[in-house]
Every structure is written in C-alpha cells, then in structure tokens.
Amino acid sequence: MANNHNHSHSDHGAHAEPHVTPLRTYLNVGAALFVLTFLTIIAHVFKAHYLSLAPFIAFGIAAVKAFLVMAWFMHLKYDEPSNRVIFALGFFFLAVLFAFSIIDIFTRVPQGTVL
C-alpha cells in the first residue's frame, strides 16, 4: 500500500499496487447476482405470456450477471486495459465463429445428389 498512486499507463514500473475492492462492494455484487437469478426464474415461470421473447429475457439477464462477475469478481474493472482487450478478443472471435456458422447453415440451397 506504500506505493504512490501514479496512473501513467505507459510506464509499467510506476504502477500503483493492485486495487483492493471494499467488502461492501462484493456483498452488493453477490446480492445483485442472487436477485438476478431469482428474476430469471420468475421470468421463466411466467414465460407462457411472452414465449417468443423468453430466450432474449433469459440471456439478457445472463449477460448482466456475466458483466457483474467480469467487472467486479474478476477485477476487470480495475485491471490493466491490455487484459480487458485480451478477454474481449475471446468474445469477438466467438462472435465471428457464430456469425459465419449461422450464415453458412441458413444460406444453403437444398439440391439433389450430383452422383
């Protein structure tokens, strides 16, 4: 904790000690994750009323939960920008895989055998 808080991003040697998240924040994030999980279930129980929207609601809530875990539990909010970029690249290339696979599967023209 004795280091001075030098926030220059270019100079690695001058970085401050890693950020310590207060206990209160962890409690809030944990509570929010519990509430969102219950919300997912409530939405699931009543999904007969909005069947076509159900997957979007379920995955929308999951995305919020994922953000909370990544930002606070995984400390990405206070991590170096390079680590945030590295992790985001994983999701970017996953999106590329998803997009091209979907385009491939749903643009195929059915045809008879050529043999």
């Binding site: 998240t21 875990v69 690249l89 996953l94």
Partner: protein, 223 residues
Amino acid sequence: MSTSRLINGVEVASHFRDVHHQYSSNKEGIWLFMVTEILMFGGLFVGYIIFHSLYPEMFAEGASYLDWKMGFVNTLVLIFSSFTMALGIYYNQVGQPKRATWALAITVLCGAIFMVIKYFEYTHKFHMGIFPGNLINPEMMAEHGHPMQHSNLGMYFGFYYCMSGLHGIHVLIGMGLITWVMIRNMKGEFSPKYYTPIEGVGIFWHIVDLIWIFLFPLLYLVG
C-alpha cells in the same frame, strides 16, 4: 528457480524487472488462458444454437427431461462460491490470511455441493436410459413411462452431457486448484504483497461461474 531474487520480501524471477512486472505478466498469462476457455465452450454453444434452430421440437423434448429447480439451486451455489472466492483474495489483500483460508474452504465446499447435485441429475438420467448420442436407450425410456418422441433425441443429450460434463470437469479441477492455494495459504506463503496464485485460481473459478451463468438458461430454461 535459483535465479530469482527477493524484492520487498517477494521472490521475483530473474527475467522480470520488478514485482509489478512479474505480477502483470502472470495475470496476462491467466487472461490468455481464459480466452482459450471462452473459445472452447463457445464452440459448443454455437453448435448447440445451430442444431437447436434446426430441430427445435427435438431440443424441446430433450429439455423437458431437465429439472430447472436443480439447475437453479446449482446456480445459487456457484454464485455464492464465486463470492467466497473473491473474499479469499480480499482477505489476503488486507492481511487476514486466516479468514482467507475459511473463504477458500467454503468455496471448495460449494464446488462439492454443485457436483453432488450434478451426480443426482446424471444418475437419474442414466437410470431412465438417457445417454449421449446413439447410446440413448429407447427401450429403457419406454419402460420408465417416457417413450422417445424424436429418433435423434440422442443428439440433444450429446450436447447436454458434453457441455455440462466439460463444465463439471472444470469445477473438479477448480476445486483441486483452490485446495492447493488454500494449503499454501495455511503455510503462510501469501501476504498482501504476494497472492498472485490465489488471484489466478480465482479468475479460473469465476470463469467456471461465468460459463454456468450462460449454460443454465441455455440447457434448463430455453430448450
């Protein structure tokens, strides 16, 4: 190892400039590893979504064999374990290693509870003749009063067992890693100046939670 030196009471390998250089390099390595995890599970997710959209009725039949209450309890267990994992790091940062050990022990316990619930889910399905791919047993399913509706139902359970099984293997490995850092913590190897292994293991444990956050709605709710 013999080429390391002590800086501020922390062992720093010779190829690192200082404590921070070592810390940030270690963490960058962990994050690169996390990308491979995202891509490994991501491939399975993409496959699931594609075949779900090709055979929606068959996937709905498969999902009807899953009990969302089990998945719900497991979600709460994993989220709580992520919280205690974060505490395991926090208590080391503020110099309370005894509390950190307790937090890590509770995290391992939660992992064990998760696996016990998984065990009951799996054995229940095995009992009914529900196995992945062409191992699925329609005769056994009919005997238990659940005749198979779609001939390719085994595909759904291929995805189900691969995705939840791969996740379960991650939980087991995570439990082992947390036990390892917990023992090191009890030996007094960590301090507010040096706790990198706990943080690395923590990030791994959180990604196990992160994947489950998406697996739960995918397998149990949307199907």
